[in-house]
């Protein structure tokens, strides 16, 4: 249970409790099939497990989200982490170069899944 003495906004307390339960459930949805489904089509109509995972990842606080940085349009991309702080630019997370944004998107998905499993 979150520490109520450190959080003034009581809404945040419930949010943290809700999300902890949500993560417990979402971890059960992670399968190799879901990962493969995302690899093939990161956008579009998805199965419910993949949809739920993506909705969770896409609604994380901005400071916990990744983005794709274009090195050369349609040829080379990198994964970066958003700062979530106004005016502070994103940071590189590694040196990996992806030949398409689809592959970069999938790399981000795998990172998000890993962080979910470890949370």
């Amino acid at each position: 249970m979150p520490n109520a003495t450190k959080i003034q906004d009581r809404d945040e307390l419930f949010k943290q409790m809700f999300e902890a339960k949500q993560r417990d459930f979402l971890r059960t949805l992670v399968t190799t099939e879901v990962a493969e489904e995302h690899r093939i089509a990161p956008c579009g109509q998805h199965s419910e497990p993949l949809d739920r995972l993506l909705l969770y990842f896409n609604r994380r606080p901005l400071s916990e989200r990744y983005a794709i940085m274009t090195i050369e349009p349609f040829k080379a991309y990198r994964v970066v982490a958003l700062s979530g702080q106004r005016g502070v630019p994103p940071k590189d997370v590694d040196n990996e170069i992806y030949p398409s944004h689809i592959e970069a998107q999938h790399a981000i998905f795998l990172r998000n899944v890993q962080e979910l499993l470890e949370s």
Binding site: C43, T70, P73, L82
Partner: protein
């Protein structure tokens, strides 16, 4: 060596041959740039299209330009016209104002009112300390005396604040009282709050004044070695009815002003009545001083007027009903209307310049990325020559200008279902407040941005740019695909802009047999709506080549057409929400927001209106029964099969991104025909809030039949007609396969028929009956 960066803007967006356009360029890491006038043909680098296409054009200013670092004053404030230095007070004085701080704990000092030089520490000021405490200070250059309140100001609450200095005794007094009513603040009366503070102290000295320090509200004078004078200590929040007296006002006198009484005449030097000057048509940037010396204050970077004041009662929702309750003038530390850079170059456009989309291309250093800049503008003909006009939706470009959605909007990834794809230009914009914001952003203090301007570099009004949150071209670069299509087919077309339409009305459209819209003409002023409706009613033929158009009312001052006002609220999807009571635009006095909520759904003019948006995948259109009506066969002539547009640069389909739908209940003319409709959209496509009274599961693409784009056609009076494509992705399907595809063919069929003199092919069978009045079959 510093990285080379070039950014620029022009003073005008729509110019005619023979007229002068001025360019303003900021350069980092270089003192020169190679300039080349170009005609822009295509701006989407998607590999399935023709890529970026431009033509270099001879002009007198092509070649090497001297460029330099330029500085931008961000933040809005008011400056009093005090040429006789009446406010350089050396004797006793009192300052007061009603204030509604938005971000008192920002961590930087904010000056509310004062004649203060922040660099030389001279003068006096009343402001907010870094920690949110109200503070009064007096400086004589070498030293500053400060007096601070005991309780910090709270955000989004109204206060009456004052400070006085008795020149004889040196006694400084601070007055802080909350003026909260049932409506005006974020918290009401039941919240146990300590809003009051009254403190006093003896200052050691009186203010020393510099000759040229201006009296400012919401900022103070500062200086930088390279930049010269500028304004810092910018304030975020509202100020209502501030004043200045040349004597100490007693507590009882301040109590009376706090309770709404007019300040006494004795000793009044200035009293800026922020409620003065409202008309039925709005209000300007000058705040009237109703004191004895008429020291009117001029707004810089357009402080927001038409905002509720400290005494807003909640009964009246517009300044037109109760101007006395609309004294709030709202300031933002990162507001930007005009960079006001030094002019880099001026160009008198060659007399023989053909109408079209142009840009001044600048290159330095590597000549790519941040080392390449395009300053776009549109050239209208001296006299209309073409049969066809492409109406460039510049009002919508302004609304989206420099949007920061990928960085600052928590909703955007959930909305698009996509990860943002950034470029170094996006990051450069994000790092520098000098680029300002668009109407999809909030200012740093959390309030929505209601003004946008093109007198600053607008990075997304550029060829090659892709909107980072959606990975497609959007607005300007997407519309270049329509220009490219017109070029490919050698149509004799002119371009004109929303700015021209707003200024000239229907006269701007009348010379043309056929007018084609941009892909997303979402933001439309009333003058533009009227002109478009009158053009069609008068026999004009209009192709609405997009979706979610004619959606939101906006306002543009005739004398400052580079600025757009937009208020977002109510029954719509919105990036921010205007406060209650602040839904009317200061520019015109009109209510902002969706046209549907004002009684003019887009269906009434275009036959279709916004129904859904989604991202990541588009779909094709499928022919509907009306397309097989022999009288309408001219629309689909040469098209084989049922499917139209199973390709495109925007998610591989002609129907996608945003979709419009035929809806008789919202004003689709009853004679409208549906030529083709899309379907099979993913569940990322959600039906718009306006098309249902309640949100519930099952209103997304795979559940709801309404999630579709309807390609419609109807004949209008006097041989006029409207063809609506109903999809943003339609325009981006045109360039596929070298413009040889069935979307391109269908559009050509319509354009050819619309631009041809005489009645339309289906005119032999006019149909104006409505289902309700049609005679029953016998």
């Amino acid at each position: 060596m510093a990285q080379v960066k070039l950014f620029g803007y022009s003073d005008r967006i729509s110019v005619k041959p023979g007229e002068v356009i001025q360019f303003y360029v900021n350069a980092d890491g270089t003192e020169t740039a190679e300039a080349q006038l170009v005609r822009l043909i295509h701006g989407d680098q998607h590999p399935a299209g023709p890529g970026h296409v431009e033509q270099e054009i001879e002009c007198p200013v092509n070649g090497r330009w001297r460029v330099e670092k330029q500085y931008t004053q961000v933040g809005s404030f008011l400056e009093a016209a005090d040429t006789e230095r009446r406010l350089a007070l050396e004797g006793s004085f009192t300052l007061f104002a009603f204030v509604h701080p938005l971000w008192p704990q920002v961590g930087m000092r904010q000056c509310l009112l004062g004649r203060w030089d922040n660099d030389k520490n001279c003068g006096f000021g009343l402001g907010i300390k870094q920690n949110g405490l109200l503070e009064f200070w007096v400086g004589r250059g070498d030293e500053v005396d400060y007096l601070e309140a005991e309780v910090p100001l709270k955000a989004n609450m109204w206060y009456f604040v004052a400070a006085s200095l008795d020149a004889k005794t040196g006694r400084a007094t601070l007055y802080q009282e909350g003026v909260v009513n049932r409506y005006n603040s974020v918290l009401g009366k039941v919240a146990p709050l300590d809003l009051s503070s009254h403190v006093s102290e003896v200052f050691r000295f009186r203010p020393k004044h510099l000759a040229d320090t201006p009296f400012l509200m919401a900022g103070s004078r500062d200086w930088h070695e390279k930049r010269g004078h500028f304004v810092s200590q910018l304030y975020c929040g509202k100020i209502d009815r501030p004043g200045l007296f040349d004597r100490v006002l007693g507590r009882d006198e301040l109590d009376l002003i706090r309770s709404g009484h007019r300040p006494p005449a004795k000793g009044m030097l200035a009293y800026w009545d922020t409620t003065h000057g409202y008309t039925d048509q709005g209000i300007g940037d000058t705040v009237t001083d109703v004191g004895p010396f008429n020291l009117h204050a001029k707004g810089y970077n357009r402080p927001v007027r038409a905002q509720t004041g400290w005494n807003w009662s909640g009964r009246n929702d517009c300044f037109r009903l109760a101007p006395d309750e609309y004294g709030g003038v709202e300031f933002h530390s990162d507001a930007l209307i005009d960079c006001n850079w030094k002019q880099t170059k001026a160009l008198k456009l060659p007399d023989n310049l053909r109408s079209g989309a142009y840009a001044m291309r600048l290159r330095a250093g590597p000549g790519t990325g941040l080392g390449e800049e395009y300053i776009p503008f549109f050239v209208r003909p001296k006299v209309p020559t073409g049969r066809i006009a492409f109406l460039v939706p510049t009002a919508s470009y302004l609304a989206y200008a420099n949007e920061h959605l990928s960085f600052d909007a928590p909703i955007v990834q959930g909305m698009t279902g996509m990860t943002p794809i950034l470029t170094d230009i996006d990051v450069e914009m994000y790092k520098n407040p000098e680029f300002g914001h668009g109407c999809y952003d909030s200012w740093a203090d959390g309030q929505g941005v209601c003004y946008s301007s093109y007198r600053r570099p607008v990075i997304n009004m550029r060829p090659k740019y892709r909107i980072s949150s959606m990975d497609i071209t959007w607005q300007y670069p997407a519309d270049l695909s329509v220009i490219a299509w017109l070029e490919h087919h050698n149509y004799d077309y002119d371009v004109l802009t929303d700015e021209d339409l707003d200024l000239e009305g229907v006269a701007a459209l009348e010379p043309y047999r056929c007018v084609i819209s941009g892909t997303h003409p979402e933001y439309y002023s009333e003058r533009m709506m009227d002109a478009t409706e009158d053009y069609i009613e008068g026999g004009g033929r209009y192709i609405y080549l997009g979706a979610n158009g004619y959606y939101c009312n906006v306002a543009i001052r005739r004398e400052e057409p580079w600025v757009l006002e937009c208020r977002k609220f109510g029954d719509t999807w919105k990036a921010w929400e205007a406060r209650p009571g602040e839904h009317y635009m200061a520019t015109t006095g009109q209510k902002g927001g969706p046209w549907k909520c004002l009684g003019r759904p887009p269906q009434k003019i275009m036959g279709v209106g916004f129904v859904s948006e989604g991202f990541g995948r588009s779909e094709p259109f499928y022919r509907m029964p009306d397309s097989y009506d022999s009288s309408l066969s001219w629309i689909t002539e040469g098209i084989e099969g049922e499917i139209i547009g199973d390709f495109g640069l925007a998610y591989d389909g002609a129907a996608g991104v945003e979709l419009d739908r035929y809806d008789l209940t919202l004003g689709t003319p009853p004679n409208a025909k549906v030529i083709a409709s899309s379907g099979g959209h993913t569940d990322n496509y959600i039906t718009h809030v306006q098309v249902q009274l309640h949100q519930h599961p099952g209103i997304t693409g795979s559940y709801d039949y309404r999630v579709r784009a309807d390609m419609t056609y109807f004949a209008a009076p006097n041989d006029g007609a409207v063809f609506s494509c109903s999809s943003i992705a339609f325009g981006q399907a045109l360039p596929v396969n070298g413009f040889e595809n069935n979307v391109s063919r269908l559009l050509a069929n319509v354009v050819n028929a619309f631009a041809k003199p005489g009645p339309l092919p289906d005119a032999a069978r006019p149909e104006v009956t409505s289902p309700e009045t049609a005679p029953a079959a016998s």
